[in-house]
Symmetry: C2
Subunit: 327 residues, 2 copies
């Protein structure tokens, strides 16, 4: 397998945690990796080769213009490595929009795909995550694009999470078919007309925001505006509740002692709800595997992201999406 190109400069913990995660992916899991960035700043890479890139796109840089003007940035060079068959996939915890733009501009869209979408696994109580897409690539969408998102999401759910017959839900504000915005109503009709059986999937109709962390659907389709708002609502709520819990656990010596007793019962819960274990979001619809990790990714998240990238290359996710979209 060609190495996974890892943007060493992207994310809140770059480059140290990125390099550490890359080293563990190589050493513990035997995955070939190439780092992309300013070699002089990376420290000991443990022998991992480096593609030199002199520029860094910052987290808050404008995605479109930074990718156009910063041609020697780590993100653009990582995408070029995939395009030029030097790498098999790219992984970045940097600027989401710029990661998407580099992948799209350098590797291009899969034939037949109208728009790539960001697919984000949301952990849930059942152990199987719900894949939400589009989580923010396209603020405005056409109904036809949402149908393609459903196709790509179901292939991803099958390939990545071994879901036998993914249940596809359409995000709306009521479960009945007539409920929602004009876009939702139009999309409902198109989704209902697809022969999902032939694709090994199932359309379960409208789902609601509360089902994102539930077990009503394996894939939830929506436009990138609604999807991003919903995703960040889920993340913000989880973060605030957990922060408040930890505060309560440490509020008195008695609470502290009791919470230590609870640790064995709470650890599996942490594992189940920890989004880091999924390695991040995935850009679906471009001609290369592209993983968009959370900006806050640490070493562990990077190991997982690189592993997922390698798995998706080996199981030919891109080829499977191309087949499904052109069926």
């Amino acid at each position: 397998m060609l190495p996974v190109a890892v943007d060493a400069m992207g994310g809140d913990n770059a480059p140290d945690a990125i390099v550490a995660g890359a080293r563990r992916a190589v050493e513990e899991r035997g995955i070939p990796v190439v780092l992309v960035g300013r070699e002089a700043e990376l420290g000991d890479t443990g022998g991992i080769p480096v593609i030199e890139a002199s520029e860094v796109i910052a987290m808050d840089d404008d995605p479109g213009s930074s990718v156009r003007t910063m041609k020697d940035s780590s993100l653009v060079r990582a995408a070029e490595a995939v395009r030029d068959d030097v790498a098999s996939a790219m992984v970045s915890a940097g600027n989401t929009g710029a990661t998407m733009a580099s992948a799209l501009l350098r590797t291009g869209r899969i034939k037949g795909v109208s728009r790539p979408a960001i697919a984000t696994p949301i952990p849930g109580p059942s152990g199987n995550p719900t894949v939400l897409l589009d989580a923010g690539a396209n603020a405005e969408c056409k109904a036809e694009w949402l149908v393609q998102f459903a196709l790509m999401g179901s292939v991803f759910s099958q390939t990545r999470f071994n879901i036998d017959k993914p249940r596809i839900g359409l995000l709306s504000i009521g479960e009945e078919a007539g409920k929602g915005s004009p876009l939702v109503k139009e999309t409902w009709g198109l989704l209902d007309a697809v022969d999902w059986d032939a694709l090994g999937a199932e359309f379960v109709g409208n789902v609601e925001g509360r089902d994102l962390m539930g077990d009503e659907a394996d894939v939830v389709v929506t436009d990138g505006f609604t999807g991003n708002v919903a995703l960040k609502s889920v993340e913000g709520t989880a973060k605030n509740i957990i922060a408040a819990l930890l505060e309560a656990f440490g509020s008195t010596p008695e609470a502290q002692a009791a919470s230590e007793q609870l640790l064995p019962a709470l650890l599996p819960l942490y594992q189940r709800f920890n989004a880091d274990s999924y390695g991040g979001a995935m850009l679906l619809g471009t001609k290369g595997v592209c993983i968009i990790s959370h900006g806050s990714s640490g070493e562990e998240a990077m190991v997982n992201a690189i592993s997922v990238a390698a798995e998706m290359v080996e199981s030919d996710l891109v080829g499977k999406i191309q087949t499904a979209v052109n069926a």
Copy 2:
């Protein structure tokens, strides 16, 4: 004060929990109440008068047609009581759409208001909730309506939560002014042009889904589709995390014992995040105070809802909204 009209038949726990909550509002807080529903089914009302209504709109009935055809339903009769100056406000834990439709059709809109909106307080770590509107009344919105939602929301935040200078945020997918859907971009321009200082409020620009439970804004404005998806994403996440926690607390005898030790530290947390303490959502923009409680409301939530209704009548919320909208 005229009595608060309480729909005795609406909600998952009607009529028992509704009647029990109404009795406590009268007995413990001295608030005048009139129940609306099938008197024969209400049990001992403790002397609370009843407006007889023979029909009940079910939770899943179509709002528009049920309000038009079920003229002797508890919801329609409650709204008529407000219209006819028999009651000062209405409270229902029943069908949200039908509650809104009855209030709108029977009491009418405040002069100058284009569309009423549902304002839902979302509890947060700071103790002050964030008011989200529109949480589902209008699936499609114009930018001008969102500006009115901001006006109504800031009056509500001042009146209901004593926020001195409410910070108004516009829900989007990036904090920069240029980020978001065409509706968001247009609304941003209109909101930025309002003289908020004169209204005792402040426009803080775009906020994201993660800020709904945070402390970035006191009022968050969006269209009813996005608002409803976001609200249910928050609610679903909180519910799933709490359910998983309770499961972990009860998973072994050791965990059970430790979690009992933790109770004193966890109780204040429960109070802070318990949406029931706010009594429910509020329909803003109609000519009467109308509280839309959660379908799952129990006795305690009803006591709070009736208290909030009475407070909003006494502090003339409707008059203040009319002044702000026509300023």
